[in-house]
Symmetry: C2
Subunit: 329 residues, 2 copies
């Protein structure tokens, strides 16, 4: 292993100068700097990140703590985060909290122990504790959901998207839209429900048909079943994410109900397979990749100290993509 003293010897200078030259410190003679770079090149010098981080009391690692890695939305977010991180010389540790508070808090501890340069998190709940990070002055950017603490965040206009989707169902002619959404603890689940209710209110529909379930296929199936078993069952569904929608689809299929003919269906989250379902599914598309890049950019600014002061909040808009599942015959 070739280290900084070896480069110094080769370049005929001191370790201090090598360090400065290689870290683009300007207080070094351009010609000497060139000699240093040549020496480093020649010897194949690779800085030891561990030593640097120990000295600086900060690593070049980000922790990206997401609530469910198997949700395609988060995968795209991760991509966006990673692209920006790598471009800025950081590496991303992807942590899957699995909607589990214990796991989540372990990862927050880990961020502190590893002296992470920053953290991007989609918190389990608005009560998620990030004091440990604040205490070590590790910058945090929150995505997808908000947080009680005063931090930067990037969200999608869930309520607006849900409103647009439900309005669309009503305008199509569906009379009794229902809402299958996520757990009450998830802010997005609540916001999407609220958007749904906004639309009903605007249309003068009194009956709210709502069910809260876990954000999974099984939840969707059970939710649809419970709704359909009611006295005056819904004739259409606004579903709060793609996994839930798969479950709703399954239940509809089991009952011989075809979307776009017998019932209306639209869901939050576009997915690569949505156009191929029978029938193709109408969706509210979220700019997942951009959420990732935006969050990462905010984090870079905070770490660099470019951004001081109060939290910044970014809200990205959604797109309504209409396919056949929401058509009223």
């Amino acid at each position: 292993m070739v280290k900084i003293v070896d480069v110094a010897r080769e370049a005929g200078t001191s370790v201090a100068t090598v360090s400065r030259a290689l870290n683009d410190n300007d207080r070094v003679d351009p010609r000497l700097a060139a000699r240093v770079r040549a020496a480093a090149e020649k010897l194949g010098y690779r800085p030891n990140h561990l030593a640097r981080s120990l000295r600086r009391q900060r690593s070049n690692l980000w922790l990206l703590i997401i609530s469910d890695i198997e949700v395609a939305f988060f995968t795209s977010v991760a991509r966006g985060v990673e692209d920006v991180a790598v471009a800025n010389g950081y590496s991303v540790v992807l942590c899957n909290a699995d909607e589990d508070e214990t796991k989540e808090s372990k990862y927050i501890q880990l961020a502190a122990a590893e002296h992470a340069a920053g953290v991007i998190i989609s918190p389990h709940s608005t009560q998620t504790q990030i004091d440990r990070l604040a205490a070590d002055s590790i910058p945090v950017v929150v995505i997808d959901r908000s947080l009680a603490a005063p931090v930067d965040w990037v969200m999608v206009d869930s309520r607006g998207g849900a409103l647009a989707a439900t309005e669309h169902l009503i305008r199509q002619g569906w009379q009794r839209p229902a809402c299958v959404t996520g757990p009450r603890s998830a802010e997005t689940a609540m916001l999407r429900r609220l958007g749904y209710e906004d639309a009903l209110r605007a249309a003068g529909i009194r009956t709210r048909r709502v069910t809260h379930r876990s954000f999974h296929l099984d939840g969707g199936r059970a939710g649809a079943a419970s709704l359909l078993d009611r006295d005056r069952p819904p004739d259409s569904f606004f579903v709060a994410n793609a996994a839930l929608a798969l479950g709703v689809l399954q239940e509809l299929h089991a009952r011989g109900l075809r979307p776009g003919r017998d019932v209306g269906l639209i869901c939050f989250d576009d997915a690569p397979w949505a156009p191929f379902i029978d029938p193709p599914i109408s969706v509210v598309a979220q700019p997942a990749y951009r959420i990732g890049t935006q969050a990462a950019t905010l984090l870079v600014d905070r770490i660099g100290g470019t951004a001081e002061g109060p939290p910044r909040r970014v809200v990205l808009g959604t797109d309504l993509i209409l396919r056949e599942s929401s058509v009223h015959p």
Copy 2:
């Protein structure tokens, strides 16, 4: 920040003993150890991973370098890896090489620079260079594809799965099966093609209808188009992964060909949406999560030094899941 000396003072002992007690070294008096742990607890001591790693010349980070994070298969693998890693006190840095050799080699460099404890990689090609890791004696486990170098690996029986899938098509009564597979540089693409050809040979079918494309939706679409434009077009398709299958589906749809009626279709990789496509897609399912846990287990053994000696190879079997797309009317 409370450090090891603080704990030593509190417990009335030396830093060496604290280090030993906290790292479960047995050469320490149980009662003293208890006192140390109590002191650490009381002061809220958190070991500094950076310092530890610098001293040990090895961090507790794994790099998981996958070829495409948006492929659901790799997401499940990642989950498996992470679960085992965390259970063993490691953290996983997820790196998305994006089927790009340059990115891949940067991540391999990174593993060295960060003194990663180990690396799990789905290499871009069999020629991927991992010397840099061997040089730093960082253990490597290869997944999904093989590698020229002598390392541990975990794979799925691609050839066998492809054979079973194609045999199934033929047994259904399809006469002219085609194969839409990935790039020649991807070993899985080649193996799946070979399995397909094994089945044709066994059935006495002479004409091979094969196209190699990138493992993406667009590749599938273009591949299906080129095959269907031939003089004697295929009447059925064995497709080498789920993304490709979506593209094939798109092209079939555009031409008014319905799987399970006009053509036969089966693909590698199960996906949560496969049962909901019109018609539901028959697939060769891979045990993705288990591939992850297996690879991680091999890595843990290598790091711990439990496993010395020659490379170990794990080949996991596939499951044929039959739905409607492969039915011959």
